[in-house]
C-alpha cells in the first residue's frame, strides 16, 4: 500500500544514498594533504607563533612590564628560534619544487604517472613520495 | 631528579596535601548518613542523636502547620515504617501527603525527628500515570 509515509521513507532513503554516494563518483583533487604540505603548514604555524611572541614581547617592553636586560635576552632567544624555523621553511620550499613526488604508477588505480603530482589525476588518492613512503 | 624537578614536586605535594586536608576537614563536619525510615528504626540504638538524612514520603496522617511560628509537624513514612517529624521553617510548595521528602537532622530522645532542613523533590513531569501507549 503506497501511503504517504511509505513514499516519504522511500524518498528519504533514496536522497540519503545519493547524497552520501555522490563523492564516490568524482575523484576529488583536494584530497588529504601530502606529507610535505604538512611539514610546511606546521612550520608556517610555528613561524607565525614566534612572530606573535616577538610582537607581544616588544609591546611588553614598551609598557615597562619587562626590563631591558630580560627583554634583550628573551628577544634574542626568540629570534634564534625564528631563524631556525625560517631556514627549515626555505629548505622545504626548495625541496618540494624540484622533486617529483610520485613513482611511475598510482598504487591504487595503477594508471601510469608523469611524476611531480601529489594526487593521482584518475582516482584522486594521495601519493607519497618515495622518500616518505 | 634534578633540583628544580624536586622543587616542583614538593610544591605540587604541598598543594595536594592542602587539598586533602581541606576535603577531610570539610567532610568530617558535614557528612551525614543517608537512610530510609525503616533503617532509622533499625539503627535507633546506634545513632544516638547523630546527624542523619532520611528519605521518605509524607503520610496521610494529619499535618500541623503553625504559620506564626513557622512550625511544621507531620509523619514521614516508607511502607509500614513511620516516624514523626518536627520542622521549623517555611513549608515547601510541593509539600503535601504523598510527596517525596528528604529531611536532615537528628532523632531526639522522644523518638521524634527534629529536622533542620526539609526538601521536597521537584516533581518529575512523568510521575503521573502516562497512560497506555501504542
Amino acid at each position: 500500500m503506497l501511503t504517504l509515509d511509505t513514499l516519504v521513507i522511500v524518498l528519504l532513503a533514496l536522497a540519503l544514498v545519493v547524497f552520501l554516494g555522490e563523492p564516490f563518483l568524482h575523484p576529488t583533487v583536494s584530497a588529504l594533504s601530502s606529507g610535505e604540505e604538512d611539514a610546511r603548514t606546521a612550520l608556517t604555524l610555528q613561524k607565525a607563533t614566534l612572530y606573535t611572541a616577538i610582537h607581544d614581547l616588544d609591546f611588553d617592553f614598551r609598557t615597562g612590564k619587562v626590563d631591558q636586560q630580560d627583554y634583550e635576552e628573551l628577544r634574542s632567544q626568540l629570534e634564534k628560534e625564528a631563524a631556525t624555523v625560517l631556514r627549515q621553511l626555505d629548505q622545504e620550499t626548495l625541496h618540494s619544487s624540484s622533486m617529483p613526488a610520485s613513482q611511475g604508477q598510482c598504487p591504487h588505480c595503477s594508471i601510469p604517472l608523469q611524476g611531480g603530482e601529489n594526487y593521482c589525476p584518475s582516482c584522486g588518492s594521495l601519493l607519497l613520495s618515495s622518500k616518505e613512503a | 631528579m634534578t633540583k628544580h624537578h624536586l622543587k616542583l614536586a614538593i610544591g605540587i605535594c604541598v598543594i595536594l596535601s592542602a587539598l586533602g586536608y581541606l576535603m577531610f576537614s570539610g567532610a568530617t563536619g558535614s557528612t551525614v548518613y543517608f537512610l530510609t525510615v525503616p533503617e532509622v528504626h533499625e539503627r535507633a540504638a546506634t545513632l544516638q542523636g547523630a546527624a542523619i538524612r532520611v528519605a521518605g514520603k509524607v503520610t496521610e496522617e494529619p499535618i500541623e502547620w503553625d504559620v506564626r511560628n513557622l512550625a511544621l509537624a507531620f509523619v514521614m513514612g516508607d511502607g509500614a515504617a513511620r516516624i514523626p517529624v518536627h520542622y521549623k521553617g517555611v513549608k515547601p510548595d510541593m509539600f503535601r501527603p504523598g510527596a517525596d521528602v528528604i529531611v536532615e537532622g537528628h532523632v531526639n530522645p522522644q523518638g521524634v525527628f527534629v529536622a533542620s532542613n526539609l526538601m521536597t523533590s521537584c516533581p518529575s513531569k512523568y510521575e503521573e500515570d502516562k497512560g497506555p501507549t501504542l
Partner: protein, 662 residues
C-alpha cells in the same frame, strides 16, 4: 505526519553510524572520497534531526496529544512563548534539543573545515557522529519523543509552573550549547591523536569553539543560579545540589583547558596535560548529562528515574578507553618543547591555576559521588552537604583569583626580584591599603576581608596592565583612542582581563551575600509594621485573586527606609489549577547595594501573615559580573582585522623596529 519524525530519527541513526565508519576508515586508509562521504553524513544527520525537531514542534503548536510527550508537557492554555519552550521541558524533548545542537555544531564544523585540517577531519567527523549515536540510540530505543498514546487525552498536563519563567526557558539551551560545544575540541583532540598531526594546529582550530562553548556554559550556570534565586524562594542561588555540580564540573576543567592551551601555544609545554583536560571536559559533560537524567543521585532536580544510566555509562567507558589508548600510543610524540625552569614564573602560575581548578573539580566530583561510593563500599549511603563544598572551594577559589592577578605580570621562565618589584609593588600596596580602609569601616569578617583583599589585588593588576598599555598606545591622541587601540590590537589578552574583572565582581557578590546576609521571620497583623535591617516593612493587605491558570494570595508590603517611602512589594502564594501545584512568588527589590527578598511563608484566615525576609548584600554584582564576562569573552572571540597569525613584517636583527610600530 508524526511518523515522519520517527522515521527521520532512524535514518539519522543509520547515517551517523555510516559517518563513524566512513570517517575512521577513510582517515586510516587515506581515501578522500570516503572522507567526503562521511562529511556529507554529518550534514545529512543534521538535516534529518532537524526534520524530527520540526515535526515535534509542529505537533506541539497544534496540540497534537496523540504524542505522549506533547500530552505530558503542554496543554491548550499555555501561552505561545512557553508552549515553544515546553519542547525542552521534559526528558525526551530536552535530549532532542541536545542532539540537535550537537549535529548542528557537527555540520557547522564540517562546513568550516572543507579546505582545512584535512588530516584531522575524518576523525573529527567520526567522533562527533559517535556522540550523536549515543543520543540517537537513547531517543529511539529508550525515550522516544514520538511514542503515541493508545487513548488521546482531550488536554495535556502542561508544563510545571516552576518552569514557566523566562530564565528557565533559556537556561537549558544555554547549558546545552555549552556542554555540546566541548565535544568539538574533544573531536579535534582525538583527530590529532588518531592522525598523528600532533603540532598545535588542532589547538588553533578549536580556540574559538572552546571560548564559545565556555561562554554558553558560564551563562547557563549563572542563569540557573539566578532562576533558583528568584523562583525557588529559599534565599540563595547555589546549593551544591548534584545537578548544579554536574554543570560546574566541565566548566572547571574547561576553564583550566582555556588557560593551559596558552602555555602549549607559547612554550610547547603541557601537551599531554591538555589532551587529558579536553578528554576530561568532554567526559564530564556526558557524565553531567548522565547524572541529571538517570536519577542515580537524589536531587531536587530529579527527572524521572530511568534506565538511561546504562547507555551513558557504557558510552563513557568506551569513549574514555579509546581516548586513553590513543593518548598512550602517541605519548612519545607529545614531549614538551621547553622545561619548567622556576616555581616563580608565568609558566608555573599557569600550572598552579590548572592544579587548583582540577583540585576543585576533584573535590566537587568526590562530594557529589560520595553517596554512591560509600554505598558501594560500606553499604550505607553517606551524603555530603554544602559546608564541605564551601570549605574546599572557597580557599581554592580565592587562590585562583590571586593567581589571576599574578599571572599576567610575572615574567616568563623565571621571575627576578626586580621583575616582581616592578610589577607587583603598586597592586600589593593598593590591596593592603584597601584592606585597612575596609577594616576601618567596620568589616571584621575574616574570610570576607581576605576575599576583598584578593579582589583588590587582582583588580589592581588589571588596572595597571590597562594603564601601561594605554599609555603606550596613546601617542598624541586621547585616552579613549588609546583604550580602543589597545583592546583592538590584542583582543585575546585584554578581553581576558575584562573577563577577570567580571570574575572579581562575582567574587565580590558572593562574599557580600554570604558573609553579611540577614534573615528574619516576621509575623504581621494587617496594618502592622516591623524593622528588618535598615528597612521598615508595613503590611497593608492580603488579596485573593483568581486568574486563568491559577489563584493567588497577594500581600501588599510597603517598604520604607528611615522615613522615605521606597517601594511596594507583593509576595504571593499561588495555586496552579492544571497541575494542582502551589508556588511561592518571591518579592524582590534589587539595588547595587543589596537585595530585599520577601517570601510569603504563610497566612491565617484572620489576615495575619508570616513573612520570611532576607537582606542579601551585593547579589546584583554576581549578575553584573556575568554581563562583564560575556563582554570580555566576545572581545576575545571577535576576529581581528588581520588574521592574527598572518605574517607580519619583521626585521629580526633590529629590535628598534618595534619602536616604529604605531
Amino acid at each position: 505526519m508524526i511518523d515522519i519524525g520517527a522515521i527521520a530519527l532512524r535514518f539519522a541513526f543509520v547515517a551517523a553510524l555510516y559517518g563513524v565508519f566512513a570517517g575512521v576508515l577513510g582517515g586510516c586508509y587515506g581515501r578522500p572520497a570516503l572522507v567526503r562521504s562521511a562529511e556529507r553524513a554529518a550534514h545529512a544527520v543534521f538535516g534529518l534531526v532537524s526534520i524530527a525537531m520540526i515535526v515535534l514542534l509542529y505537533a506541539l503548536l497544534t496540540h497534537d496529544f496523540r504524542l505522549q510527550y506533547i500530552a505530558s508537557v503542554s496543554n491548550r492554555s499555555m501561552p505561545l512563548f512557553y508552549l515553544i519552550a515546553s519542547l525542552w521541558g521534559g526528558q525526551e524533548g530536552s535530549m532532542m534539543l541536545w542532539l540537535w545542537i550537537l549535529v548542528g555544531y557537527s555540520s557547522l564544523v564540517t562546513l568550516q573545515n572543507q579546505q582545512r585540517n584535512r588530516e584531522l577531519m575524518p576523525y573529527v567527523v567520526a567522533t562527533l557522529m559517535a556522540t550523536s549515536l549515543l543520543f540517537l540510540t537513547m531517543l529511539i530505543f529508550a525515550e522516544d519523543p514520538f511514542q503515541q498514546l493508545a487513548r488521546v487525552p482531550r488536554d495535556g498536563q502542561g508544563l510545571n509552573p516552576l518552569l514557566q519563567h523566562p530564565l528557565m526557558v533559556i537556561h537549558p539551551p544555554n547549558l546545552y550549547l555549552g556542554f555540546v560545544g566541548f565535544a568539538v575540541p574533544f573531536a579535534f583532540g582525538l583527530g590529532a591523536l588518531a592522525s598523528g598531526r600532533l603540532d598545535n594546529q588542532w589547538l588553533y582550530s578549536v580556540r574559538r569553539w572552546t571560548l564559545v562553548a565556555w561562554l554558553f556554559l558560564t551563562v547557563g550556570i549563572l542563569l540557573g543560579g539566578q532562576w533558583a534565586y528568584v523562583e525557588l524562594g529559599w534565599g540563595g542561588y547555589w546549593a551544591w545540589d548534584p545537578v548544579e555540580n554536574a554543570s560546574l564540573l566541565p566548566w572547571l576543567t574547561g576553564t583550566a583547558f582555556l588557560h593551559s592551551v596558552m602555555i602549549q601555544e607559547k612554550k610547547g609545554m603541557l601537551k599531554v596535560w591538555n589532551m587529558a583536560l579536553v578528554i576530561a571536559t568532554y567526559g564530564l559533560s556526558i557524565f553531567g548529562t548522565f547524572l541529571t537524567r538517570s536519577g542515580v543521585i537524589s536531587s531536587v532536580h530529579a527527572f524521572a528515574q530511568s534506565s538511561l544510566g546504562n547507555y551513558f555509562l557504557l558510552y563513557l567507558g568506551i569513549a574514555l578507553a579509546i581516548s586513553v589508548a590513543l593518548l598512550l600510543k602517541r605519548l612519545p610524540q607529545l614531549r614538551s618543547d621547553h622545561r619548567l625552569e622556576s616555581a616563580l614564573s608565568r609558566e608555573s602560575s599557569f600550572l598552579f591555576n590548572n592544579l587548583f581548578l582540577v583540585g576543585m573539580t576533584f573535590a566537587v566530583l568526590w562530594g557529589t559521588l560520595f553517596p554512591i561510593i560509600s554505598e558501594a563500599i560500606r553499604g550505607v549511603k553517606i551524603s555530603v552537604a554544602a559546608p564541605f563544598f564551601n570549605q574546599v572551594n572557597v580557599p581554592l577559589g580565592l587562590a585562583l583569583l590571586f593567581l589571576a592577578g599574578v599571572c599576567p605580570l610575572i615574567a616568563w621562565r623565571k621571575a627576578s626580584a626586580k621583575n616582581l618589584q616592578r610589577n607587583f609593588l603598586y597592586p600589593f600596596t593598593w590591596s593592603l591599603l584597601s584592606t585597612a580602609l575596609l577594616y576601618a569601616f567596620g568589616i571584621r569578617h575574616v574570610v570576607a576581608l581576605i576575599a576583598l583583599t584578593v579582589c583588590a589585588f587582582t583588580f589592581g593588576t588589571v588596572v595597571l596592565e590597562f594603564y601601561r598599555g594605554m599609555r603606550v598606545r596613546r601617542g598624541n591622541k586621547g585616552w579613549g583612542y588609546a583604550l580602543f587601540a589597545l583592546i583592538g590590537r590584542n583582543r585575546r589578552r585584554y578581553g581576558g582581563y575584562i573577563v577577570h574583572c567580571g570574575v572579581i565582581l562575582i567574587f565580590l557578590g558572593i562574599t557580600g551575600s554570604s558573609a553579611y546576609q540577614i534573615e528574619e521571620n516576621l509575623v504581621l497583623q494587617r496594618g502592622e509594621q516591623q524593622r528588618v535591617g535598615h528597612f521598615t516593612l508595613q503590611y497593608d493587605d492580603l488579596r485573593h485573586s483568581i486568574q486563568a491558570t491559577h489563584e493567588a494570595f497577594i500581600a501588599t508590603i510597603r517598604v520604607r527606609n528611615a522615613e522615605k517611602e521606597l517601594t511596594t512589594l507583593y509576595p504571593e502564594k499561588r495555586l496552579y489549577f492544571a497541575q494542582n501545584q502551589p508556588t511561592t512568588e518571591v518579592a524582590l527589590r534589587t539595588s547595587l547595594l543589596e537585595d530585599l527578598y520577601i517570601i510569603l511563608a504563610g497566612f491565617e484566615s484572620s489576615g495575619t501573615i508570616t513573612l520570611k525576609v532576607f537582606i542579601n548584600p551585593l547579589v546584583a554584582w554576581i549578575w553584573l559580573g556575568g554581563v562583564v564576562i560575556v563582554l570580555g569573552t566576545l572581545i576575545a572571540i571577535w576576529p581581528e582585522r588581520r588574521w592574527p597569525l598572518q605574517q607580519r613584517r619583521y626585521d629580526l636583527a633590529a629590535p628598534a623596529a618595534a619602536q616604529q610600530e604605531a
